[in-house]
C-alpha cells in the first residue's frame, strides 16, 4: 500500500523512517520487538510538541506507553483499528415556546475533543455536538451556534473584539432572546470590557462564558457554566455584557459579573473571576437569576443596539516597578504609540526619573492615564506631592478603572478621536460601571486564611 505523511501523523525522523520501513503507519496493531522486551498495542499519532524518538503505543488495557525507536529491532503488524473520535451528534430539538439563544464561539473548550497532533484538546461546537454532550440546554432554549474564531484567548485582540461585536449586533438586530459568547478564560475580561464599550444599550443579555477545567474532564465546570450562561441569556432581565463563571469552586452557582469590573484572579481555580471594587450583578443557578442589585440595565423588547466597533491599537499598558527607567516610556513614544495606561503604585505613582519621559510623551501627543496596580481602590493623585507632580506632566487619573479595562477603553477612545479633551471626556465618562462614584465596603473582600473567624466561616460555607 502507498503511504503518505498523514499515515504517520506527528512522527518525525528518525522514528518516521523506522515506521515507514516496517510499514507500520498509525492505527496499526503491532508487536514491537525491542531490547527491553516485546510490547503489543496500537500505534497512535505522535504529538508534534513531543520528541522525535518515541513510538506511542496504546496497550490493550487502554494505557499508552512510549517505545524509543532505537530499542526496536522489528515490528510485526497484525491489523488496523482507526479511532473514530466524534462527540455524538444529536439534533438540537426545536420547541416553539422556548426563547432563541445564539451562541458565538471564539475558542475555549465548552465541548472538546483530542487533537492528536498537539496532544491538546480542540473544541467541538455544533448545536448537535453541544446537545450530545450537554442535553440540558434543550430544556432552556432553542440554540443556534456560530463559530467566529477558534483561538486560545491569549490570541484574541482588537480585530476579534470588533468582529465579535459586529456579529453580536447583527444577531440582536435580527431578534434574539440573548447572546452567549464562548471564550477562553485568560483574557475573557479584556474581551468583556471591549464588548461593553463597543456594544451599548443592548436590549438583551450578552453573556461571556468559558471553563477552567476543559470539558474533556468529568469534573469540568464547562457544562454547568454553559447551562448557567444559556439560562441567563434566555431569561435574565439584566441586559448587559456579563461574565458568567463559577461563584464558589463547588458546583453550586455561577456569578454574573459586569463586563467592565471583572477580572481573572487565580491561574487555575474554578472561582477565578471576581468583581473588583464593587459587588457582582447577581447569581445564577438552576432556579434562575437572582440579582444582587437593582441598578442594572433592563431587558427591552426592541432590537436596537448601539454598535461602535473601533479600536486604535497603538496603546500600551505599563506596569510600573521601582527603578523603572525612562527609556521604557521613550521607546513607546519612539515607536509611535498614542496612548499609555500606567498601572502605578499605591494611589497612582511612578518614580521621579520617569518625569522627563512623561513630559516628552505628552509633547508628542501621547495620551497617558493612571490606574492602580493594587487593583482595588481609586487613583488619588492629590494626597502626595508625587501625584500632583505627575498630573502636572499631563497624566490623567482614571479613578477606579481596572488597568486592563483602561487599556481597552483608551484604545477604543483613540479609535474615535485623538482630540485630547474629547479623549479625556470619553475616558472619564463611564459607559457601564468601568469607573464608579463610590466603592462599597464589601467591594473589597479578600479573606485572610488562618484567622480563626475566617476559617470558621469557610468551614461552614461551600468553598
Amino acid at each position: 500500500m502507498s503511504m503518505n505523511n498523514e499515515d504517520f501523523k506527528g512522527y518525525r525522523s528518525p522514528t518516521l523512517e523506522l515506521l515507514q520501513r516496517e510499514k507500520a503507519p498509525v492505527w496499526s496493531q503491532v508487536t514491537l520487538h525491542t531490547s527491553r522486551g516485546d510490547f503489543s498495542g496500537l500505534i497512535l499519532p505522535r504529538s508534534e510538541t513531543a520528541d522525535a524518538d518515541h513510538i506511542v503505543l496504546k496497550l490493550e488495557t487502554g494505557y499508552n506507553i512510549g517505545v524509543r525507536h532505537d530499542t526496536v529491532s522489528s515490528i510485526d503488524v497484525q491489523g488496523r483499528k482507526v479511532a473514530n473520535y466524534q462527540i455524538p451528534e444529536k439534533e438540537f430539538p426545536f420547541d416553539p415556546v422556548k426563547p432563541r439563544v445564539k451562541l458565538f464561539g471564539t475558542g475555549g473548550t465548552i465541548a472538546s475533543r483530542l487533537d492528536y497532533r498537539t496532544g491538546a484538546v480542540i473544541p467541538a461546537f455544533s448545536p448537535g455536538e453541544l446537545y450530545g454532550s450537554v442535553p440540558e440546554l434543550a430544556d432552556i432554549c432553542n440554540m443556534e451556534t456560530e463559530k467566529l474564531y477558534g483561538v486560545f484567548s491569549e490570541n484574541m485582540g482588537p480585530e476579534q473584539w470588533m468582529g465579535t461585536a459586529r456579529a453580536i449586533a447583527a444577531e440582536i438586530e435580527k431578534g434574539v432572546a440573548g447572546i452567549v459568547v464562548g471564550h477562553g478564560t485568560d483574557t475573557m475580561h479584556h474581551t468583556a470590557a471591549a464588548l461593553s464599550f463597543m456594544l451599548q444599550d443592548s436590549p438583551v443579555p450578552i453573556v461571556m462564558v468559558g471553563s477552567q477545567r476543559s470539558s474533556d474532564r468529568p469534573s469540568s465546570d464547562a457544562a454547568i457554566n454553559l447551562i448557567n450562561s444559556t439560562r441567563t441569556a434566555a431569561t435574565s432581565d439584566i441586559a448587559e455584557v456579563m461574565v458568567c463563571m463559577f461563584g464558589p469552586t463547588s458546583d453550586k452557582y455561577g456569578l454574573l459579573h459586569r463586563g467592565t469590573r471583572v477580572r481573572k484572579m487565580h491561574s487555575s481555580y474554578r472561582s477565578t473571576f471576581r468583581t473588583l471594587s464593587d459587588i457582582p450583578l447577581g447569581k445564577i443557578d438552576e432556579t434562575g437569576v437572582t440579582p444582587f442589585r437593582s441598578d442594572y440595565k433592563r431587558r427591552r423588547q426592541d432590537n436596537q443596539i448601539k454598535l461602535n466597533a473601533v479600536f486604535d491599537d497603538r496603546v500600551s499598558l505599563v506596569y510600573y516597578y521601582p527603578n523603572m527607567k525612562p527609556d521604557i516610556i521613550d521607546s513607546l513614544v519612539d515607536n509611535g504609540y498614542k496612548g499609555i495606561v500606567i498601572a502605578g503604585t499605591g494611589l497612582g505613582h511612578v518614580n521621579k526619573p520617569l518625569y522627563p519621559a512623561l513630559d516628552r510623551a505628552r509633547e508628542a501627543g501621547v495620551h497617558i492615564y493612571m490606574t492602580v496596580q493594587t487593583m482595588w481602590g481609586y487613583v488619588q493623585m492629590y494626597v502626595y506631592e508625587t501625584g500632583r507632580e505627575i498630573m502636572g506632566l499631563g497624566v490623567v487619573p482614571a479613578a477606579n478603572m481596572l488597568p486592563e479595562v483602561a487599556y481597552v477603553k483608551l484604545g477604543w477612545a483613540l479609535g474615535q478621536t485623538h482630540d485630547r479633551d474629547e479623549v479625556k471626556r470619553i475616558m472619564l465618562s463611564p459607559v457601564n460601571g468601568e469607573t464608579t462614584e463610590r466603592e462599597p465596603h464589601n467591594g473589597y473582600l479578600l479573606f485572610q486564611g488562618g484567622i480563626p473567624e475566617v476559617d470558621e466561616f469557610i468551614s461552614s460555607h461551600w468553598k
Binding site: 525491542t34 527491553r36 522486551g37 516485546d38 510490547f39 510538541t49 513531543a50 520528541d51 524518538d53 518515541h54 506511542v56 496504546k58 496497550l59 490493550e60 488495557t61 487502554g62 494505557y63 499508552n64 506507553i65 512510549g66 517505545v67 524509543r68 530499542t71 479511532a83 473514530n84 473520535y85 466524534q86 462527540i87 455524538p88 475533543r113 483530542l114 496532544g119 491538546a120 484538546v121 454532550s133 477552567q212 477545567r213 476543559s214 470539558s215 474533556d216 474532564r217 468529568p218 469534573s219 469540568s220 457544562a223 454547568i224 469552586t249 463547588s250 458546583d251 453550586k252 487565580h266 491561574s267 487555575s268 481555580y269 474554578r270 476559617d455 469557610i458 468551614s459 461551600w462 468553598k463
Partner: protein, 646 residues
C-alpha cells in the same frame, strides 16, 4: 406451579458448597480462574503529583468542604464508557472534606498537576524490575476515569512503567501483565441517597498496581500469589507497610461466566473465601441463564414497563411500604414473567438472586433504605395476598408471575424500574460485567458496571517522561535481589530453610548481607544462621535498618565473634549489650536463685526445670549461654528430686 417452571439444573437445586468443601479438581471443573491487581503505596515523602506530605491521615479534622458532580466524557477512541454513564444516572452530589495539612489546590482539582515525584517513579521502576517486567522507554501519564467521585478530577492519573514480567510460584511461573504507577483515591466516609462524602487525605498518594494474568486455579493460590507480590515490594523497602498501605482487586471467572472484579480487598487472608463465593455466584447465574433459555425468556421479551401501584398499596399493613407511602413515595411494580422460582435461588451464602436487583436499585437509583424492594413470590411477609393479587392484575399478569415492587422518589423509582429490567435482561446473557465490592462476611455485592479500556484518556497536562538507559540501568544496579533469590543465597550460607525464607522477605536483608561479611570463615561464635535468627528475633526492639543501626550492629557482631557477648545478651541492655559473665559469676547467680526458689513450682520435673531455667536466665539477662544454664538447673532439679524421695 406450571411444569415449565421446574428447575432442571441440579446445581440450582442443591445447597451451595461451603468454602473448604471443594477440591482443586472441583475448581478445575468449574473452570475457575483468578487474577490479581495488587496495590501498594510507595514509600515517599511527598504525594505523586503535588508537594503535599505523604502518609498523613486524620479522619477527624477538616476545615472546608467542596461539592462537585461528575459528567461522562468521551474516551480517546471516541466512546463513552459504560461505567461513566451508569454513574451519571446516579446523579450523585459528591462532597470532599479538605484538611489544610494534607491537601492543596491540586487534590481539590483547582490546580494542574506538578511534575511527577521522581522518587516515586524510580521506586516503581525498581519494583517493575524485581517483577522481571519490560521497562517502557517513555512513561505516558493516562487519565483513567472514575465517575464515582473517588477522585475529584473524575480520573486517576496513572502510567504503565513495565509490562510482561514473571514471578516464580512453586514449580510454575505467574505472568505479570503490567505494573503501573498511579495516584491513590479518596476514602469514602458515607454514601446515602444522592450524597456521597469523601475524605481527601489519602488522595494523591503514590501507588503501584501490579496486575497478574488469571493464572491462579484455586482460591488458595490467589492468596499465596498475592503474598508473594506483596512481600517482593515490601522486602525491598520501597513501599509502605501497615494498615491501608496495601489492598488488592481480585478478578474471578468460571466457565460460562465473565471476568468479575472484586475491589478493595484489604486483607489477603479474606481472598480465598471471597473468590470461592464469587465462583459459586457465577456458576449459579450461568445456571439461571440456562433455565431462562429453556423457558424461552430472552432479553427482547423482557419489558421495562413499570406500573404505578401506589393507589393499590396505600392501605397496606406492610410497615416499610406503609411508611414510605405516607411520606409521599411512588410505588411501582415490575412483573418478571418467566422468572418463576429463580429469584430466590441462592447465589452466595445467605444471598439470593434477588439481591442482584436490590443492589442495582440501591447503587444506581440511590434507593438505599433496606429493604428497597419486595417480591410477590417471596416467603417473607410483605403485602397481603389480596394486595399482591391487585398488583398482579394492575400489571396484567397471573398471580404466579414474580412481581418486584420498588418505592421512593418518583425519579428514583423510574430509574429503579429501568434498572430491574436491565438486570433481568442481563440474566439472559449469564454473568453481567461488573465491579463488585467485598463484604465482611466473605460474599460480595454490586459496586458498578465493569469499566473498559474506553475510560482511558491521555493526560494533556503533563508531557511524556523519557526513561533514558542511564536512569534505568542505575536503578537496576542498585536493585536488591528478589526474596526468593535472597532465600536461596541465605540457604547457601547455611541458614536453615524456614529462617532463610523469612529473611528473604524481611527488610533486615540488607543488614544481614552487610553483617554476614564480618563473620570469620569456619567455626565461629556466630554463624550465618545465628546472625539471621538474631536479626529476625521477634522481640527485637531496635530498628532493623542498615542506615539507622549499622554501626551499632557491626560492633555487636564483632563482640559476639570475639566472645565478649553472647546473642541472648544483645537485647537486655538499655543501649549496649551486656558483656558475657565468667563461668564462676554465672554459677553464683544460678546458685542464688536455686537457694531461694518460689513455693508454687510445678510438680512435674520437666516443667519445673523449664520454669526454673526461665528464672535464672531472667536474672542473668542474657549474659550466659542458655544451654549451660539449662544443664545446671537440670542437674539441680534432679538432685533435689532425689532428696525429696529420700
Amino acid at each position: 406451579m406450571d411444569n415449565r417452571f421446574l428447575i432442571s439444573d441440579p446445581w440450582l437445586r442443591q445447597p451451595l458448597p461451603l468454602f473448604g468443601e471443594l477440591s482443586d479438581q472441583d475448581y478445575a471443573e468449574l473452570g475457575f480462574m483468578c487474577g490479581l491487581e495488587v496495590h501498594q503505596q510507595l514509600l515517599t515523602r511527598r504525594k505523586l503529583f503535588c508537594r503535599c506530605p505523604a502518609g498523613c491521615y486524620d479522619k477527624n479534622s477538616h476545615q472546608a468542604e467542596v461539592l462537585r458532580h461528575m459528567r461522562p466524557t468521551l474516551s480517546e477512541m471516541g466512546e463513552y464508557d459504560g461505567t461513566a454513564l451508569m454513574e451519571f444516572k446516579t446523579r450523585k452530589e459528591i462532597i470532599y472534606l479538605l484538611n489544610n495539612d494534607t491537601v492543596c489546590t491540586y487534590e481539590m482539582d483547582d490546580a494542574p498537576p506538578f511534575e511527577i515525584d521522581d522518587v516515586a517513579l524510580d521506586r516503581s521502576l525498581a519494583v517493575a524490575m524485581l517483577l522481571g517486567c519490560n521497562i517502557v522507554s517513555e512513561v505516558h501519564i493516562t487519565r483513567k476515569q472514575y465517575l464515582d467521585g473517588s477522585i475529584p478530577t473524575g480520573f486517576q492519573r496513572t502510567a504503565i512503567v513495565g509490562t510482561d514480567g514473571d514471578i516464580p510460584y512453586g514449580q510454575r511461573t505467574i505472568h505479570i501483565r503490567q505494573i503501573s504507577i498511579e495516584e491513590d483515591s479518596c476514602r469514602e466516609v458515607s454514601d446515602q441517597g444522592h450524597v456521597r462524602t469523601y475524605l481527601t487525605d489519602r488522595l494523591g498518594m503514590p501507588l503501584i498496581e501490579t496486575v497478574t494474568d488469571p493464572d491462579m486455579k484455586t482460591p488458595r493460590e490467589a492468596m499465596e500469589v498475592g503474598q508473594i507480590i506483596r512481600h517482593l515490594a515490601r522486602s525491598s523497602g520501597l513501599v509502605r507497610t501497615g494498615s491501608g498501605a496495601g489492598r488488592q482487586d481480585v478478578n474471578v471467572s468460571v466457565t460460562g461466566g465473565t471476568r468479575i472484579e472484586i475491589k478493595g480487598v484489604n486483607n489477603l487472608r479474606a481472598v480465598p473465601r471471597l473468590v470461592h463465593n464469587e465462583a459459586l455466584r457465577q456458576r449459579t447465574l450461568v445456571g439461571i441463564k440456562g433455565e431462562l433459555e429453556r423457558r424461552g425468556v430472552t432479553a427482547d421479551s423482557i419489558s421495562d414497563q413499570g406500573y404505578d401501584v401506589t393507589a393499590f398499596v396505600r392501605g397496606t399493613d406492610c410497615r416499610f411500604i406503609q411508611k414510605a407511602v405516607a411520606k409521599g413515595a411512588t410505588v411501582m411494580a415490575i412483573p418478571l414473567p418467566g422468572f418463576q422460582g429463580l429469584l430466590q435461588v441462592q447465589t452466595q451464602p445467605r444471598t439470593s438472586f434477588l439481591k442482584e436487583f436490590s443492589d442495582r436499585i440501591r447503587v444506581i437509583a440511590c434507593i438505599d433504605q433496606l429493604p428497597n424492594l419486595a417480591l410477590s413470590t417471596e416467603d417473607v411477609p410483605t403485602l397481603s395476598s389480596g394486595e399482591w393479587d391487585r398488583v398482579a392484575k394492575a400489571c396484567g399478569v397471573a398471580a404466579d408471575v414474580p412481581v418486584i415492587l420498588v418505592w421512593g422518589r418518583k425519579r428514583d423509582v423510574q430509574t429503579a424500574v429501568s434498572e430491574v429490567a436491565i438486570r433481568a435482561r442481563e440474566a439472559c446473557a449469564g454473568v453481567p460485567q461488573e465491579t463488585r465490592q467485598a463484604l465482611d462476611d466473605g460474599t460480595n455485592g454490586f459496586e458498578r458496571i465493569l469499566p473498559g479500556a474506553d475510560r482511558m484518556y491521555p493526560d494533556t497536562d503533563l508531557p511524556p517522561i523519557r526513561l533514558d538507559d542511564q536512569r534505568v540501568d542505575g536503578i537496576r544496579v542498585s536493585l536488591l535481589p528478589a526474596p526468593w533469590e535472597r532465600a536461596a543465597r541465605a540457604r547457601d550460607l547455611g541458614v536453615g530453610q524456614d529462617l532463610a525464607l523469612r529473611l528473604g522477605r524481611h527488610r533486615a536483608w540488607p543488614l544481614f548481607e552487610h553483617l554476614v561479611q564480618r563473620l570469620p570463615e569456619g567455626l565461629s561464635a556466630l554463624t550465618p544462621n545465628g546472625l539471621a535468627s538474631l536479626l529476625l528475633d521477634r522481640e527485637a526492639p531496635r530498628p532493623a535498618s542498615l542506615v539507622a543501626a549499622g554501626p551499632w550492629w557491626e560492633q555487636v557482631v564483632d563482640r559476639i565473634v570475639a566472645g565478649e557477648i553472647i546473642p541472648p545478651g544483645v537485647w537486655y541492655g538499655e543501649d549496649e549489650p551486656l558483656p558475657r559473665l565468667e563461668d564462676d559469676e554465672a554459677r553464683l547467680v544460678c546458685r542464688e536463685v536455686l537457694k531461694d526458689l518460689p513455693q508454687d513450682l510445678p510438680g512435674d520435673p520437666a516443667r519445673r526445670e523449664h520454669v526454673v531455667t526461665g528464672i535464672v536466665m531472667n536474672r542473668l539477662k542474657g549474659r550466659y549461654p542458655g544451654a549451660e544454664v539449662r544443664a545446671w538447673v537440670a542437674d539441680s532439679v534432679r538432685h533435689q528430686g532425689q532428696e525429696d524421695r529420700s
